[in-house]
Amino acid sequence: MSALGHLSTPVTPEPVAARKGGRRRTAYLLLLPGGLWLILFFVVPLVSLVAASLYDPNGSIEAGFRMTWSFHNYVDAIADYAVPLGRSLWYSLLTTAFCLLLGFPLAYAIAFKAGRWKNLLLALVIAPFFTSFLIRTLSWKLLLGDNGFVVDALRTVHILGSDGRLLATTAAVVTGLTYNFLPFMVLPLYASLEKIDHRLIEAGSDLYASAFTTFRTVTFPLAMPGVVAGTLLTFIPAAGDYINAQLLGTPKQRMIGNDIQRLFAAGAYPTAAALSVTLMAAITVLVLFYVRRAGTEELV
């Protein structure tokens, strides 16, 4: 119908339409590489992960795994691993909170007070990335070691008992996580703070707001996109991390990643997959809830 209408009323100049169609095609062509990448490396693995979580739990590598739609895998996995699952979410929440507490003043100082030191300070924030994640975590083992100088000093001033230790405690694991993910918090915070129009803050003091009120009502709300991005970039990877728990913790600090890795190696694919999907779902729900509450207009 509309095609016929087009033919009979040649009002729309032909070249414009052609250009529009061409532009649209270009847009889709530009989406193609990214789309293919996502299908190949995100959708396919995700589907196969969900499938694996529903395989017959009595299968083995020797006999193979059949698809039996065993939704019960989820019930079993959650019943057996509720503790490490909850612990992972709790640790990553703590990590995110500490990163925010440490990262905000740092990002604020770099954005507003650093002057000509700005670039140097930013480089220092990124500097740890020049060493591997594993090496950095292992160095914490040296620092916090039972006979290292940190523990010795803390024992001398009686903060730690004569038998107290830092390594292999919850504190060590959360410290390690905080340290490893801090740059992911600082950088987006800095990007947000940097963009703030200084005249708005000046306006605050012009209107007789105290420094704290200006911060609370002007600076912080304007930095919100950075806070949201930073907390997400910290929380999500921290929940799946298992290196810190492995190297700095004890069995009592095991996170869900440790269990998934071991189950996978043991050939218990369905349980391992069910736990992975559960973790993903839990994170997605938490993040969606959080993003709805915090608002992300400027994020996307």
Binding site: A52, G145, A266, Y269, T271
Partner: protein, 395 residues
Amino acid sequence: MRSQPVRRRTVLRGLGLSALGLTAGGTLAGCGIPAAKQSADSCLSTDKSAEQKTLIFSNWPSYMDESDEKVNGQTVLPTLVEFEKRSGVKVTYTPDINDNAEFYAKIRDQLGACQPCGRDIIVLTDWMAARTVGLGWIQKLDHSKIPNVDKHLLKQLRAPGWDPNRDYSVPWQTGLTGIAYNAKFTKEVGSFADLLSRPDLKGKVTLLSEMPDTMSFMLKLTGADPAKFNDAAWSKALEKLQDYVGTGHIRRFTGNDYVQDLNAGNIVACEAWSGDVLALQADNPNIKFVVPEEGLAIWSDNMLVPNKASHKANAEALMNYYYDPEVAATLAAWVNYICPVEGAQQAMEKVDPELVDSPLIFPDSATLEKSTGFMALDTAKAKLYETDFNLAIGG
């Protein structure tokens, strides 16, 4: 008239949803992982050793003698170089096996589908070797080509339950699992009962994350035989372990990395492998290895030729070469594990007279009698026990 144009977002959303629906319904139902069991008939391998004088050898780290000086920045492996000279076979040697379960995860998809895994010799510990042999993934060896093995292999190692005629496997090195402690920080720890209950050791001991090693001792502590036990005994041993984990007595479950913690004094005693401890002792005389009252756990790491490896004859030549007592002694003097080759002790006189009486390289028969191996498990049992063990060592 013009119909309301369909909004792009709606179209995309519709497409996305139907794609999701299709995937969920169709793809998921079609999923599954086929059985990985192979047999000599289902998976044929051809030997190209005659034309191709090459061999790809994957082994564990620190498991091959190294000379002190480097040539062109490369570490020289003297016994291996000698083999290349004698046989004319060029060996690609990679120490890329760190953990049995991890390495298994690396090769199982290829071997399960009868595809080459890119290696002619792999080295796996008994329990894992048993699993791969059970799955039919390993080629049968031609004993006429390995006369040295038949002649010199230690009596105690000739007939393991999972390969009674050594048709598929040849031990590379053998080792003992026992207790190590750091004498600078604690007095002697003589048994696993002590290690796991002495109050001064609380939070300062580690156990190994290799299930057979640790469970061997739990089974012994609960009065069972690790070489032959049933599900009830297993559950009892597992409960015992859970108790120790629950009290916080055990600090961690580790792989080889207990070595650094023990050396630094972060832990003062642990379950340990004999060769590691000997190597550590050379730098730190405070480190001691103890034969626990419960006895030792003995294991071997075995050379295997996987299916589709195309240089089996070359691999057999290498196995035969390393069972020459003199070569074996040279290797043992460097790696410090138990030498599975009879006659190497005499040959050691020439290589390093100090090591001739080392009880951890050439243990006497009394020590060997006190040592037990771990029962071979089929994959279903192995998965069950590994999963149990995993739950138990989590806090």
